[in-house]
């Protein structure tokens, strides 16, 4: 499924992407396109290569072949931090926040300024930064926890904090890996509300197993199976696809 020309409006164009680990092709000749302001959900059974796709886009894993174009820039040749600076943000499956730092400091590190060694030596927590941090802290329900060490937060609060860190980073493409996994019912509802708020004005790529959640947010769904696309389209179309029912939704 190779396409020769890429229409301009695609924010992210993945084409012919392949990665093999010792001969095992975790992602095999994968191509898909994400538009501006689109919310795309990737679903699929365990081991389908969902997380690997996100790893490839954000540079954590190097592709064996294929290309990933983001706003016309080739991401496969860039380093992780350069990819972030281009405008791609990534949230990991397990909450990864800095436990020995306060909520405020966690958010401050994600603020997109002073990212070089000397930039960070001279970084000044000015009014603009403080204002933005307080604004984000309010959105992620942690406004009264700014001076709390992240280690003392609950699992759900850590997830929110990480989402907040991505929000302050303000990426054009936000990638979320199972954002509601391991959360209590009330935390889950709050997170859905939070995600609905932060996915405005940007493109989002989400991996999720919670079908209710997927139906709520997805513009388009991509079903992965054994490193390849099994089906792609609206939730309605995917849900009724016999191949999808057989390998994934059926059980």
């Amino acid at each position: 499924m190779l396409i020769g020309h890429q229409p301009k409006e695609f924010l992210l164009a993945v084409s012919g992407l392949t990665v093999s680990f010792d001969g095992f092709k975790a992602v095999n000749d994968l191509s898909f396109y994400v538009e501006e302001n689109e919310i795309r959900v990737i679903i699929g059974p365990n081991g389908a290569g969902k997380t690997t796709v996100l790893d490839l886009i954000c540079g954590k894993t190097k592709a064996t072949s294929g290309s990933i174009q983001f706003r016309g820039k080739e991401l496969t040749r860039m380093k992780e931090n350069e990819i972030v600076q281009t405008g791609v943000g990534r949230k990991f499956q397990t909450p990864s926040v800095f436990e020995d730092l306060t909520v405020l400091e966690n958010l401050e590190i994600s603020y997109p300024r002073g990212r070089s060694v000397f930039g960070s030596l001279t970084f000044d927590r000015d009014a603009k930064v403080k204002e933005r941090i307080e604004e984000v802290a309010e959105i992620i329900f942690l406004k009264d926890r700014l001076d709390t060490y992240a280690a003392l937060l609950s699992h759900g609060q850590k997830q929110w904090l990480e989402i907040g860190m991505l929000l302050i980073q303000d990426p054009d493409l936000l990638m979320l890996d199972e954002p509601v996994a391991g959360m209590s019912v009330s935390e889950r509802a709050k997170t859905a509300e939070l995600l609905n708020r932060i996915i405005r004005d940007r493109s989002v790529l989400v991996i999720e197993h919670d079908m209710k959640f997927v139906e709520d947010i997805a513009h388009k769904v991509t079903v992965l199976h054994q490193g390849q696309i099994l089906s792609e389209g609206t939730m309605e179309k995917v849900k009724n696809d016999p191949k999808v029912i057989e390998v994934y939704l059926g059980h």
Binding site: E80, F92, I109, R125, E134
Partner: protein, 379 residues
């Protein structure tokens, strides 16, 4: 809601003042010049330990080769002093007058090219900082850009310490070999062996030590300091927040190297010689122990750790020379197992709360209500 981080909080200010009192007033008044010179020698290791607090305590990069940088700083200083001591007049009995005595003993007949710039004091002072800094940069870039970290990095730094020792011992015509550079006499004509010189050098050293403490404290309080802590815990999160982790590690490693080198140069001045026995694996590991005992997260702890362990080393090895190494090993194991944050951790956990309670109870009995906000929680 957001509180400004001040340069020193109350307990750090107390720590700063008490250290200054101890080093500037109490020790010089109570110790004779011989003991004060010993303290000066111990304090040279405090520079290394402060560097290790930044690099290891904050950044999580354990270098077991700080002796390399300590030694390079020390050797740079020693080369200058040795050249000054080897004037033609002083060395006229040699077959080649005007070169250091160990060169003459090794049948070297002219000063090697890399020795020549060390006739100049400004060059030497620059080299003390630049040479170790540059080496740390090269090692750091080679390791961290390739994502070599953790234990592997520690082992490689240890190997470098061993290599440098072998190099210095093997090239004795250029380095003085196993004996090192001895018989250092004057600094720009000023005799550094007199009691008065030792007294003056002690205060120069204390001033430089406080300079390093302030620099380390400054770095700790910038965003860079917080990124070091962040990196120690969640390297990937830092990377995916848009930072080049390797560059920050290189910075921390270079800063630690420069601090160690300043300590090494002062060591040469205080003790009057430099030898490979301060470069290798054993001294490098001892430097890590000073930091661990003092508390690897505490800049002040590093200073006290260096003083106390060295003091114990001198007193114990005078009485039980065989037992000292076992004692040092036991100390390290005890710190790691029982007090992972060293003396500063013991202080913060057991002593500080008592002082706070004492202060606050006195305050409340005086009916003081003005300074409640100072110690009150932020919320």
């Amino acid at each position: 809601m957001i509180i400004n981080s001040r340069f020193l909080n109350r307990s750090e200010l107390v720590g700063f003042i008490s250290l200054a009192l101890l080093l500037i007033v109490i020790l010089p008044l109570t110790l004779d010049i011989f003991r004060l010179n010993l303290v000066a020698k111990y304090l040279t290791y405090a520079f290394v330990a402060i560097g290790l607090v930044m690099c290891w305590g904050y950044g999580g990069i354990l270098s077991l080769g700080q002796g390399v940088f300590f030694g390079l700083g020390g050797y740079c200083m020693a080369m200058f002093l040795k050249l000054e001591a080897s004037s033609v007049a002083n060395t006229k009995i040699q077959s080649t007058p005007g070169i250091p005595d160990f060169m003459d003993w090794n049948q070297i007949t002219s000063l090697p090219f890399f020795w020549k710039p060390f006739h100049s004091l400004p060059f030497t002072l620059a080299a003390i900082v630049v040479v170790p800094g540059l080496l740390a940069y090269i090692i750091g870039a080679a390791m961290f850009k390739r994502r070599v970290g953790g234990v592997y990095f520690s082992i490689i730094t240890q190997a470098i310490a061993a290599i440098l020792t072998i190099l210095i011992v093997g090239q004795q015509g250029y380095t003085g070999g196993i004996n090192g550079m001895t018989d250092l006499r004057t600094l720009l004509g000023w005799d550094i062996r007199t009691d008065h010189a030792k007294f003056v050098l002690y205060f120069v050293e204390v001033a430089l030590l406080f300079g390093c403490i302030v620099a380390a404290q400054f770095i700790r309080l910038t965003k860079l300091g917080r990124i070091l802590v962040a990196m120690r815990e969640q390297e990937d999160r830092v990377r995916f927040s848009g930072y080049s982790v390797a560059n920050f590690k290189i910075f921390a490693f270079c800063a630690a190297a420069v601090f160690a080198a300043i300590g090494g140069a002062l060591f040469t001045l205080e003790v009057g010689f430099m030898s490979p026995s301060f470069v290798g694996i054993v001294p490098s590991i001892e430097m890590v122990i000073y930091t661990a005992v003092g508390g690897r997260m505490s800049i002040f702890g590093a200073v006290y750790g260096s003083l106390l362990v060295n003091f114990a080393k001198t007193s114990l090895s005078e009485t039980f020379p065989q037992l000292w190494l076992f004692g040092l090993g036991a100390l390290f194991i005890a710190v790691v197992l029982a007090f992972p944050n060293g003396l500063s951790g013991i202080w913060a956990d057991y002593v500080q709360p008592h002082i706070d309670r004492l202060l606050s109870s006195r305050k409340s009995s005086w009916g003081d209500n003005g300074s409640v906000a100072d110690g009150a929680p932020a919320e």
